[in-house]
Subunit: 190 residues, 2 copies
């Protein structure tokens, strides 16, 4: 039941917004009473916290798996972009909540979620730095700024990409990594 | 006075959210009465509409200027990325409202703002297509997907970039266009 409340909240918060969704609406959607909601959650913010944590924990876990693999940096980057784009289908509402509703978290929880979000960025930066040091990537740019470039082009897809549309996830990931990897290529290799 | 009400609303909606800001708070910030607010605006949504229109109209105008110039496609792209990043300093709150609060517009206004937003994307797509046809950009990718790539990496900057920080707008734009232009380069040129 807790899972169902969370799933319904994800869909309502994602479509209408956190502030715009009442606990009454959540329970109405499930044919429950408010009492059942309060049995599982202290308040609406607790659901929001859980959505944020699940979204970023899941991404971090998938990222860790790629980082720990024995792939070369450019292959890891390709896998990472593919993973982020493939995640849209399952998690677009959670992502909208994650990107838009962070300001509704209480201070302590905000700090905690921010640290995890920053870790995701820092892992990309580290990967880019490795690629630079191994000579796979060009050396004239900054790994931190490159990590934001990658986050930007991939995360923005949540706002417009339609997985059921003309371009498959795999195709989009191929186009994005084609530009990115050629763009980062070290000229010394040529 | 109308301008001051708009400016204060931009700063409050941007920081706290549209739904979370009351007309009372807007007028309190300016030491006005609600009557003055209603002299200039029918309701809070009318302010929101104006913020959306001003933000996208301003971007479209700056984009038009670049598009109409006699620069080569790759130079136009560079100018475009620079313009989008330079716009952060002046308009970060408007941008946050533009990206996050579109769902609070009424249907008719939403359609109108969406058309303008789509035009901004289509102009980038057209520019990329020109570059492909002139042989400046690679031919193996899709101009529409490339335009979203560019929008993503540039627009995402509004969420994290600090113009007063270590990296200047010009430097960031240089890094971003360095990756982008090398990434789009036609191999036939080499």
């Amino acid at each position: 039941m807790k899972g169902k409340i969370t799933e319904t909240s994800i869909s309502l918060f994602g479509q209408k917004g956190f502030k715009e969704t009442s606990i009454q609406e959540i329970v109405d959607h499930l044919g429950l009473t408010k009492g059942t909601f309060y049995y599982y959650f202290k308040n609406k913010e607790e659901v929001l916290v859980q959505i944020h944590e699940r979204f970023i924990d899941d991404l971090l876990e998938k990222q860790e798996k790629i980082m720990r693999s024995s792939l070369r940096p450019e292959e890891k980057l390709r896998e990472l972009v593919r993973m982020m784009i493939e995640n849209i289908r399952a998690s677009v509402n959670s992502a909208m909540i994650f990107f838009r509703e962070m300001r509704h978290l209480s201070e302590g929880k905000l700090l905690y979620v921010r640290q995890k979000r920053d870790l995701f960025q820092q892992n990309i930066e580290k990967l880019v730095q490795e690629g630079i040091e191994e000579g796979a990537f060009r050396t004239d740019l900054r790994a931190d700024m490159i990590s934001y470039f990658i986050l930007g082009m991939a995360n923005w897809s949540y706002f417009w990409y339609e997985p059921e549309g003309e371009v498959s996830e795999e195709h989009l990931a191929d186009i994005y990594t084609a530009i990115l990897l050629q763009g980062l290529e070290s000229k010394e290799k040529e």
